[in-house]
């Protein structure tokens, strides 16, 4: 995985980040700008309110009071308050709109992109990691537009507008009000940087702790069986204590920052308020000015405490943004690249010197050569990790070859579009994946033509699953998955087989697809499968010799190579893996037969 480089060209990259994040807004740029402008207006109006109070006070002091003037001031103040409320509302609404739209778009883009990412990428990335990027990272970016940018901009507005206003009142006083400002900002930045790294350490430990709890709980029977309760408790103790220690570090950081910051801001305020009082007494500024001044100084100084936190959070959100972008930048599969034939494939397949590896230097398939005629049944046998599944995964182009060529009906595999290819290839896996949807929807997934209920039922009958489906309360409309009925491994496999029957592909791949079905049902399904395999090129991966022996060609694989090829009766005459497995299995069967007859 490409590591994100944070250190270099920081200033330049900050600008670039801002630019990119601005571009991400797309058509909502105007909405977002409007939000910020409205925010500025709201801040400006609250400063204006202070000026109204100033004038009111000065008028009152001058004792030219009439009820009408007072009511006039009151109405004016109320009007600014109303406008201020309105701007704040507009700002909040527009922020919400643009932020939520950005999140909406990212979620949809990521979802589609996950489906298009090549397998080589999915193999490398953990599901949890991808989900985290699609959920919590997207949420961080949403907060960036919803809270963080408006938060920082608000502080900036508060500072500049009020500062300019004080400048206008009394410029020396204004300059004196911001003496401590650089220190406040510095302190805030320094502390929050520490707090962020402390918090990350705390979160990491929390992750370790959760994982440890999860493991102990799911393995609780093993813990009890080995009587290792005390050992586990000690182990947990250690992790738990470390968590507490890291928490304390955070507590101490917070407990030192806030008092310091209060002292700093408070001293600045008191100092300038005292000087202001002195100036008022010496007649340099009016009574009303003093009152407005103290209010405005307060809104310059106190919000700055938070600036450090906001800036740090901003930078964290931009990391989230890049984590999302990193995924979106990975090129997805182009389903349409290449050409399609008007008709279905025939199913002649040629492997020519094919080599393949997931990681460089660890070959999974080496020099595979195979000639398969349309309609042939190919059985593949081999130990776990010998390359059986990798071999068949090459056909729908889930992976690209390192070396060699594969041809289907004389066309190079890579010249056909993936879409066309996958429409023509059907796969049934050992642990088939079903969607959280009704059984019928699952059966019809991937079928592009119109299909009647009758056809659906016929396919289900062929796969020996029709009766089971009818036994569910809602028949074909029964929901499967977490919220619906849970199916056994065998039932899932049979539904996957029915799904493939409906898809009606020209090339069929059965990857250990009957392993969870009991022998009696398998024999019944076998008839369906035999029928399904007729007129189709098919590949069967299985452990049981009985399943394999009728194939037109049996391929035995070992360590990425084809070590034996031939028909059942040919292979059992030659010494090799096939013969060995056949013997173990048939000895066992014979022994049993023998016992039975003996009694």
């Amino acid at each position: 995985m490409r590591k994100h480089d944070g250190g270099r060209d920081k200033r330049e990259s900050t600008l670039l980040v801002l630019k990119t994040l601005y571009r991400v807004l797309g058509v909502y740029k105007k909405t977002f700008i409007l939000a910020l402008v409205a925010l500025g207006i709201a801040v400006g109006l609250s400063t204006a309110g202070n000026f109204i109070i100033r004038d009111a006070v000065d008028v009152l002091i001058a004792e030219q009071v009439s009820g009408i003037t007072i009511i006039g001031f009151a109405l004016l103040f109320l009007a600014t308050a109303l406008l201020r409320g309105l701007s704040a509302f507009i700002s909040g609404k527009c922020c919400a709109k643009s932020a939520e739209k950005v999140a909406f778009k990212f979620r949809n883009d990521l979802f589609m992109h996950f489906q298009l990412l090549p397998f080589s990428y999915h193999d490398r990335m953990q599901t949890g990691e991808l989900i985290q990027r699609a959920t919590s990272d997207v949420d961080s970016v949403r907060k960036f537009y919803y809270e963080q940018i408006p938060g920082v901009i608000r502080i900036v507005f508060l500072f500049t507008i009020n500062f300019v206003a004080i400048l206008f009142l009394h410029w020396q006083l204004a300059l004196g009000s911001i003496v401590a400002v650089p220190f406040i900002i510095l302190l805030s930045l320094l502390f929050f940087r520490k707090i962020v790294s402390g918090f990350e350490a705390y979160q990491n430990q929390e992750g370790t702790l959760s994982a440890s709890i999860q493991e102990t709980l799911s393995g609780i029977r093993v813990v009890k069986a080995f009587a290792r309760q005390e050992w586990e408790a000690k182990h947990f103790d250690k992790i738990n204590a470390e968590q507490c220690r890291r928490g304390k570090v955070l507590v101490i950081l917070h407990a030192s920052f806030w008092p310091l910051s209060i002292l700093l801001c408070g001293t600045q305020f008191i100092a300038i308020a005292t000087i202001g009082a002195y100036l008022t007494l010496s007649g340099d500024i009016s009574y009303g000015t003093y009152i407005a001044f103290t209010a405005m100084v307060a809104s310059i100084i106190w919000p700055l405490q938070e600036l450090g936190r906001m800036i740090i959070e901003l930078s964290k959100s931009s990391v989230s943004f890049f984590r999302i972008k990193e995924i979106l930048d990975v090129e997805g599969e182009d389903m349409e690249l290449g050409f399609e034939l008007k008709h279905k494939l025939k199913g002649n397949i040629t492997f020519k010197d094919v080599s393949f590896s997931y990681n460089e230097g660890v070959p999974i398939l080496e020099d595979i050569n195979l000639q398969i005629r349309a309609g042939e049944n190919i059985a593949i046998l081999g130990l776990t990790g010998s390359g059986k599944t990798s071999l068949v995964n090459l056909l729908p182009r889930f992976y690209d070859l390192d070396k060699g060529r594969i041809y289907i009906d004389k066309y190079a595999l890579s010249s056909l579009t993936k879409k066309y290819l996958r429409e023509n290839i059907g796969m049934v896996e050992q642990e088939p994946f079903l969607f959280t949807a009704t059984i019928k929807e699952n059966l019809l997934f991937g079928v592009k033509r119109e299909i009647t209920q009758k056809e659906v039922e016929r396919a289900a009958k062929m796969a020996c699953i029709h009766k089971t489906i009818l036994s569910f309360p809602e028949g074909y409309d029964t929901l499967i998955g977490e919220k619906g009925v849970s199916l056994s491994g065998g039932q899932r496999q049979r539904i996957a087989i029915a799904r493939t029957i409906l898809k009606d592909p020209k090339i069929l791949i059965l990857d250990d697809s009957t392993s969870a079905i009991d022998a009696k049902t398998e024999r019944k399904i076998q008839e369906a499968l035999d029928q399904l395999m007729r007129d189709r090129t098919s590949f069967i991966i299985a452990h049981r010799i009985e399943t394999l022996m009728k194939a037109d060609k049996i391929i035995v694989m070992d360590k990425g190579k084809i070590v034996e090829t031939g028909r059942h009766d040919e292979l059992i005459t030659r010494p090799g893996i096939y013969k060995k497995i056949f013997q173990i299995q048939s000895d066992f069967a014979k022994e049993k037969e023998h016992e039975k007859t003996r009694i």
Partner: protein
């Protein structure tokens, strides 16, 4: 074994007061921290409120009277208050933070230790996910209540009270006026915030729907690709994200409306103050500083009030968490060691069942009057239909469950007179689907005996016939097993678990044979490993394989909670009874598969 059905643990209902007291008790020996932070936060609210009062005096006494000394005097006082503020802030953050971390640690420890003592029957009823949430999110929510929510509550109350007191000091007539606005403000803030909270709750629900959609698509990507349903799937998803957008926007819209609404109400209050004050000012009733102080106090009170709804909603959630956690802590282990129980250092291997009756639930009897004597070194195979009671027998021997009637003797001693730990340590159990822990293979095997050295581990793994596959892995014995053993195949997991049991070197072996299909050669290795494990030990096996049954010294046919037949294979076949029909039925399958 049958699939477990979990029911949500039946929650005890606590009275709010009991719950509250128990939460406070969680602070345990850290109670000074609790007192400390409560005092600090209380004092902080008062000193914070006095800032405004002092500033008023600067204006009214100092500036209005043109008294510079008074200005300095009150400013100095103000500075002292700021210093006090700093101290109080330090105090409440430090005390509350420390209290939070420590109580979280001790609460989790308590729960973990408690879970370790619970009996198997508890885990039959309770899913590990349920327990997991109790230890993680619920535990932290309770400590949050104990610290930050208490803090918010007390700060808010003290804040409003102190502000009101100072307002009464300044001008009681005006203060009365504010007191009239206050309830309106509180009620409308609560109502409005309630609406927002409801929207956000919906957003959370939609968010988990989005998450599960993502997870389904990522784990099902192979099927999606091979069926070519990318577009269709994305369109479905857009429906979910669209409603998520709409709900979030609504929540955002309401939030945007909330603050201005509260502020406008305040502005109205300020206007009333100005209007009333202005007229009073005429008659010398209130000062300029007084008006300014009133404005500040009203704004000052706003924060806790607008926060009220959030704190209240969180508190309710925490109380619900506390109810769940206390229910867990109050559950009692069903099997407890007697005070006089003795530790044993080894088992010779004689196991006797005397008139044993057992039921998981009162109404369904699983074992009915079982009488059985297993001789030291004997190998017993249990066969019979699913649900007949085979697994129950294997669970009763290590005392994971206790018989309701009857006795079990180990080497002639009633096993209730032996400590559970020492008994279980001497009985080795190999389960059908072995569970491994994340960590290296080495660590997993070592689990059988934590003080074993590398040599002993490798020799155990050689005996289990696991060595060959382990050394072929990229990192050999340091290869990661993955959570639950997910990085290894089922067959490999079984080999490792056999090695673990061999290292454990128990005196009695209980084995639940695997039924899942494994490739022929690995299956062969497992059989050889098991033979090594069973050598010279008393063993009780739930048998699914023909070869195992044939090797057994004695076969017990368990059906309907009773021992229907027993004896050697040939004898039982000759009987042509239960065993015979079972044998011909069940093993026909195996015959066909082979």
């Amino acid at each position: 074994m049958k699939k477990r059905e979990y029911k949500e643990e039946k929650l005890k209902h606590f009275k709010a007061r009991t719950l509250f007291l128990r939460i406070i008790k969680l602070s345990g020996k850290n109670w000074p921290l609790l007192v400390g932070f409560l005092v600090c936060i209380g004092l902080f609210s008062i000193s914070q409120a006095s800032e405004t009062y002092l500033l008023k005096n600067v204006i009214d006494i100092g500036i209005a009277n043109r008294d510079l000394d008074a200005v300095f005097y009150y400013m100095t006082l103000y500075f002292c208050v700021i210093c006090a503020n700093a101290v109080f802030v330090f105090g409440f953050i430090f005390f509350a933070g420390l209290l939070g971390e420590r109580s979280l640690q001790s609460l989790r420890q308590k729960m973990f230790d408690h879970i370790m003592t619970l009996s198997f029957s508890y885990f039959d009823r309770t899913s590990s996910g349920w327990l997991f949430s109790r230890m993680t999110s619920d535990a932290s929510r309770i400590t949050e209540l104990l610290t930050w929510m208490f803090l918010d509550g007390i700060w808010g109350t003290m804040n409003v009270t102190a502000a009101m007191v100072f307002m009464f000091i300044i001008n009681w007539q005006l203060a009365l006026l504010v007191l009239i606005i206050l309830p309106i403000l509180v009620v409308s803030a609560l109502k409005f915030k309630g609406l927002i909270i409801r929207e956000y709750r919906q957003v959370r629900a939609l968010n988990s729907q989005v998450t599960s959609n993502f997870s389904e698509t990522i784990s099902g990507v192979k099927v999606i690709k091979s069926l070519g349903v990318e577009e269709k799937n994305a369109k479905n998803f857009e429906g979910v994200t669209d409603s998520m957008y709409k709900t979030s926007f609504k929540a955002g819209f309401l939030s945007a409306l909330f603050l201005p609404a509260v502020q406008l109400t305040t502005a109205l209050g300020v206007c009333i103050v100005m209007w009333a004050g202005g007229f009073q000012f005429e008659s010398g009733f209130i000062t300029v500083g007084g008006i300014k102080a009133f404005i500040s106090y009203i704004i000052f009170m706003l924060w806790p009030i607008q926060d009220l709804a959030r704190v209240y909603a969180n508190m309710q959630r925490s109380f619900a968490s506390a109810e769940r956690v206390f229910t867990l802590l109050d559950s009692r282990a069903e099997i407890v060691d007697q005070k006089t129980a003795k530790k044993i250092s080894g088992i010779e291997g004689k196991i006797e069942f005397k008139h044993v009756h057992f039921a998981y639930r009162r109404d369904v009897k699983v074992l009915k009057n079982i009488n059985l004597t297993v001789k030291p070194g004997e190998m017993i195979a249990l066969v019979g239909p699913t649900g007949g009671g085979k697994t129950t027998i294997t669970n009763i021997i290590p005392r994971f469950y206790e018989p309701q009637k009857g006795k079990i003797l180990i080497d002639g001693v009633d096993y209730r007179k032996i400590t559970q730990r020492s008994l279980q340590d001497k009985i080795g159990i190999v389960l059908q689907t072995p569970h491994l822990f994340s960590g290296s293979i080495m660590e997993n095997i070592r689990y059988g005996r934590p003080d074993a050295n590398k040599h002993e581990i490798i020799s155990a793994s050689k005996k289990a016939h696991a060595h060959d596959f382990i050394v072929r892995l990229a990192d050999k014995y340091d290869s990661e097993a993955g959570e639950g053993g997910s990085m290894l195949s089922v067959g490999q997991r079984q080999l490792v678990s056999i090695a673990r049991a061999i290292l454990n070197n128990p005196d009695v072996i209980i084995l639940d044979e695997a039924t899942s299909s494994i490739d022929t050669l690995t299956e062969h290795l497992i059989q050889m490993g098991l033979q090594e494990l069973l050598k010279n030990r008393t063993s009780i096996i739930v048998a699914h394989r023909l070869s195992t049954i044939r090797n057994a010294d004695r076969i017990l046919v368990i059906e309907d909670g009773k021992i229907k037949e027993q004896g050697a294979h040939a004898d039982l076949m000759a009987l042509k009874g239960h065993y015979y029909s079972l044998y011909t039925r069940q093993f026909e399958d195996e015959l066909l598969r082979a």
